[in-house]
Amino acid sequence: MPTLIIDNQTVTVPEGTNVLEAAKRLGIEIPHFCHHEALGSVGACRLCAVEFREGPVKGIQMSCMVPAKDGMVVDTGSAEVLAYRAQVIEWLMTNHPHDCPVCDEGGECQLQDMTVAGGHGIRRYTGPKRTYQNQNLGPFIAHEMNRCIQCYRCVRTYQDYCGGTDFGVLGSRQRLYFGRFSDGPLESPFAGNLIDVCPTGVLTDKTYRFKSRIWDLQEAPSICPHCSLGCAVTPGARYRQLQRRRARTNNRTNGHFICDRGRFGYGYANHPDRPRYPLLGHRRVTWQEALAALQNKLQELGELFGPGSIGLLTSSRATLETQFLTKRWAAALGSDQLCFEAHPGRDLGARVAASQRLDRTASLEDVRNCDLAVLIGADPLSEAPMLALALRQAARRGARIVVVDPRPVELPLAYERHAVSVEKLGQLLRGLSRPQQSEFPSSMEELGGSLASALLAAKSPLLIGGTDLLGPQGTEAMQQAAEACSQPETPCRTMFLLAGPNSFGGALLSAEGPCFSSLLEGMEQGRIKALLCFEADPLADYPDRKRSRAALARLDMLAVFDCAATATLQEADLFFPTTAVEESTGTLINNEGRMQAFEQVFSAGTPLAESAGGSHPPRFFSRDIPGSEPQSAWGILGALMGRSADLLTLRSEIEKNDHRFAGLSQLEARGEGRRIAAPRQYSLSHQPNISGIMGSDQLQLLVTETLYGSELLSNLSSCLHESTPSAFVMLHPQDAARFKLEEGKKVLLGTPVGDLTLTLRIAGDMVPGMAIVPRLRGTVLEPLVPGTEPLPCRIEKA
C-alpha cells in the first residue's frame, strides 16, 4: 500500500494503482483522454502529464503510466506541466474541425472540456485541415471521422473489451481511420458503448441525432428493464420524449458498459400506440369513472361469489412496490388467487433460483473475476447480453469458459462448446451433483467427469444456468451440483438467468402461492370471475395461448394496468395506464437478488414531437399536459387501498413486513444496490417430469429468446427493428439432409399452434433431432413462448 503526496495531500492507495487514479481518490482530476477505468492506460494521448518532484521517478511523466510508489511527491499543476498540457491540446486541435455547433457530443465532450481546461483558445496553426469521408455504421451509431483525436479508446473497447472484429483502426501516420473496412452495420451487440467511450463526437448515438443537448435533458439514475441483470443506466428525456439511454457505472453489475438492447430499447416509452388514458370497454373514461367501475364490480363479485372469485396477477416487469401492494390488496380483498408471473415454468424456475444461498450467488462482478464458468442451458447474448461481456473479461484474464447447450450459442470469446440435448442437460446436472459417484449417462461420462473435476479444482468456479431451458428441476439440480462441486475455500457459485427485471422480487413474494395454471383452471371452472393484471400480459406470456385466450374470455371482468399495448389489453374490460420505468420511481431485484432503486427521469406525457406534429409547441395557454394520465402501478394500488402514495413510507413498510428486504428504505438509486438479506424458503414441490417420450425421428421444437425481438418492451423500440431477424427455424445439417431441405429456403413447420412458413437456417453446432425457433413478437412465431418442454413438430418443404 504505497503512500504518496499529490498536491500537498497525502494518500495511500492499493499496490498497482497509477498516479492518475490515486489523484482521483483525492478529488484531483488530472486531464486525460486515453485512460479509462475499464480499459486501462496506454499512454497515447500525452495529456495526463504531471511533475514528479521526489521519489523513484523524476520530472514530467504520464500519470496514467506510472504506478504509485512510496515517497512520491507529485505536482499536478506546476507551470511547466500546464504549459506541456496546453501544447498537447493545441496539437490535438490542429486538425479538429470547427463544427461543435452541429456536433451531438457538444456539451458533454471531453475534448471541449480539456481544451478549455488546457487554456487553448486561439488557433495559431493556419495550415489546411485533414478531412475524411464517413461511413454508414448501421442504425445505432453516427460516424464523423473529422473529429477524431486518435486516442484509440474505441478500438480498445470494441475489439479488446467487447470482442468485436469488424471495427478497428486502419491506415497509417496522419491518415489513421477508425471504422470498418467498408460501410455496414456494426456487428457487435455491444457497439453502442462506442458512443460512451469516444471522448469526442466521432461516434455518437444515431437514434438521438440532433434531438437535444445534455443541458436540456432530464436525467436520473435508472435501471435497464430489458432483462434480469438490471444494468445501471442513465436515461435522458426532453419535451416528454425519452431520447436516449447511457450506461451508468455499477461495479457490482454491469461495470461501465451496457448492451445495445438496453441502450436502444427505450422507444417503448414514446410508442405512438401506447395507451395513455383509462378505458372502460373501449371507451375513454376518467380515472374516477374507471376506478369506481372497478371497485363496484369487485364489490359485486365479492358479494356474489366470495373473495376467491378475484384473481390477481403481476409480472417480472412490475416493481417490488407494485408486487408488494398487489399482495397486500389481495389480502385486503381476501383472495388467495395471487400470482407473480403468467408463465408457470418461469415462475417456478425463479422461485427455485431465488432460494439459492446468498454466498453461492454470483454477481456479474464475480463472473468477471471467475476462473472457470460452465454455462448449462444459458445463452447469454439472447437471455442476458451483458453476461457475455462479463464472461469475455473473465476469459481475457485466462478463465476457461465451457458452454453446454442444445442451441448454437455464440459468445464474443474463445470457449469450449458441447452440443447436448435438453434431456441430457438435466442428467448432466444430476451427475454433477454426485461428482464422486460419477453417475453420468454413458454418452456424458467424459464431459461430466471432466467438468466435475475442473469445478472442484478451480479457484472461483461458476455454474451459469438459464431457467428457461433448465426448468425448475434443472435449476434445482444446478444448485445441488454447485453445492457438490464446492470446496471449503473455493465455493462454486451459480448465476441463473430469469425472465425479467424483477422475477426475483416476485419469486420472493410468491411464497407458496399458486402459479398461473391454477388461476387459469379457476377461470375455466368459473370459480374466478375477475382477473386484475398489473403490468402483466397473460395472453402473450402463458405458453398455451389458446387455453389462456379461452379462459380469459370466460371472465366477467378483465382489468389491465399497463404501460404498453399488450395482447391482453385488447381483451380488457377495464384499462388503467401505468408509467414506464423512466416515468416513476421504484425498486427492481435482479437475478442475483440485488435490490436496485431507480428514480423518476421525467413525467409521463405524449411527446411534444408527436402532439405538435413536428411543428412548434401549441400557441395557447393550458395547464393540461396531453397524455399525462399514466400513474405508477403502485400509486394506483395505493389509491385503490386508500393509502398515502408516499414511496418512503411504502418502502419502510415492505422492509418491516419482510426482513429479507432489509435496507430497502435506505437504498439509493446512485449506489450499487443491496443484496436481499436472506433467500427464499426452499419449497419446490416435486411435480412429475412431463416430458413425453417421443419417437426417435420425431423432431423436437425448442423455442428460445433472441437478442432483439423477444422481450416485450425493447421490441416496441422502432430503432431495433432493423436489427431484428425475420422469422426463421434452425436445423442441424443432418436433419436438413434427412428432410431434404436447403438453407435459406422457405419451409413449413408444423407446430401445436399451427403450420408456420419460415426461412430455414442450418447450424452445425446444435444438437441433431431438434428444430429451434426464436421467439419473435409481431411475427408468425409470436404464439410460441420459450421456457417450456420441447414440443413435438414436423417440418417439410413449403
Binding site: 470547427h98 455547433p101 489546411p128 469521408q133 491518415r175 489513421l176 443537448r213
Partner: protein, 176 residues
C-alpha cells in the same frame, strides 16, 4: 451660512425651470415621430441567412443556454443533405431582457439584434415569435460568414473542397 444656502436652494430651481422654458424640448412626439436608434442598439432579435441564402441557424442550443431568462426554445432537425437546422425556433419577447448574450453565443452569426424596439402589445402571444417571424431574408450585419464552409462537414460544398481543407484521406493507401 445656512441661511444663504437656503435662499440659494429656493431660487435656483426656479431659475433652471425658467431657463428650460426657452429651450427646444428633447422629447419627440412618439409615435408620430420616431427616433432612429444607434446602429448597435439591442432591439428585437432576428435569424439571418448566410450568403448562399440558406438559414444560418443550426439549432445548436447555445443561445438558449446563454440566455439568462430562458426565453429561447427550439428543436433541431436534419435536412436530407445533412444540414442541421431548426425545425422550430421560438423567442418569447415578453421575457427577453435584450441583454444580447444570445447573439454573443451564436457561433454561426445567425442570431442578431436589430434596432426594432416596438414590441409592446396587450396580447401576450403576439410577442412570442416563431421561426417564420424571426427569419429574415438577408445576412444582417455580417454578410460574408458561412458556417458550413468552415466546418468541414461537407454540406455547403463536398468534404475537402472548402478553403483550408485537404482532400479526404485515403486510409487504404500505405504510401507516404
Amino acid at each position: 451660512m445656512s441661511l444663504w444656502r437656503d435662499i440659494r436652494g429656493t431660487i435656483l430651481p426656479f431659475w433652471v425651470t425658467l431657463r428650460y422654458l426657452f429651450r427646444r424640448p428633447v422629447t419627440v412626439c412618439y409615435p408620430e415621430r420616431k427616433q432612429t436608434p444607434a446602429p448597435r442598439y439591442r432591439g428585437r432579435l432576428v435569424l439571418t441567412r448566410d450568403p448562399d441564402g440558406e438559414e444560418r441557424c443550426v439549432a445548436c442550443h447555445l443561445c438558449s443556454a446563454a440566455c439568462p431568462v430562458d426565453c429561447i426554445s427550439m428543436q433541431a432537425a436534419e435536412r436530407e443533405d445533412g444540414r442541421r437546422h431548426a425545425a422550430w425556433f421560438r423567442i418569447n419577447f415578453s421575457r427577453c431582457i435584450f441583454c444580447g448574450l444570445c447573439t454573443e453565443a451564436c457561433p454561426t452569426l445567425a442570431l442578431q439584434m436589430t434596432s426594432e424596439y416596438e414590441l409592446a402589445s396587450r396580447e401576450l402571444l403576439q410577442v412570442i415569435y416563431e421561426k417564420d417571424e424571426l427569419l429574415i431574408d438577408g445576412c444582417g450585419k455580417n454578410d460574408g460568414y458561412n458556417f458550413y464552409r468552415l466546418a468541414g462537414i461537407g454540406v455547403a460544398a463536398p468534404r475537402g473542397s472548402n478553403p483550408g481543407e485537404t482532400p479526404p484521406v485515403d486510409f487504404r493507401s500505405n504510401l507516404p
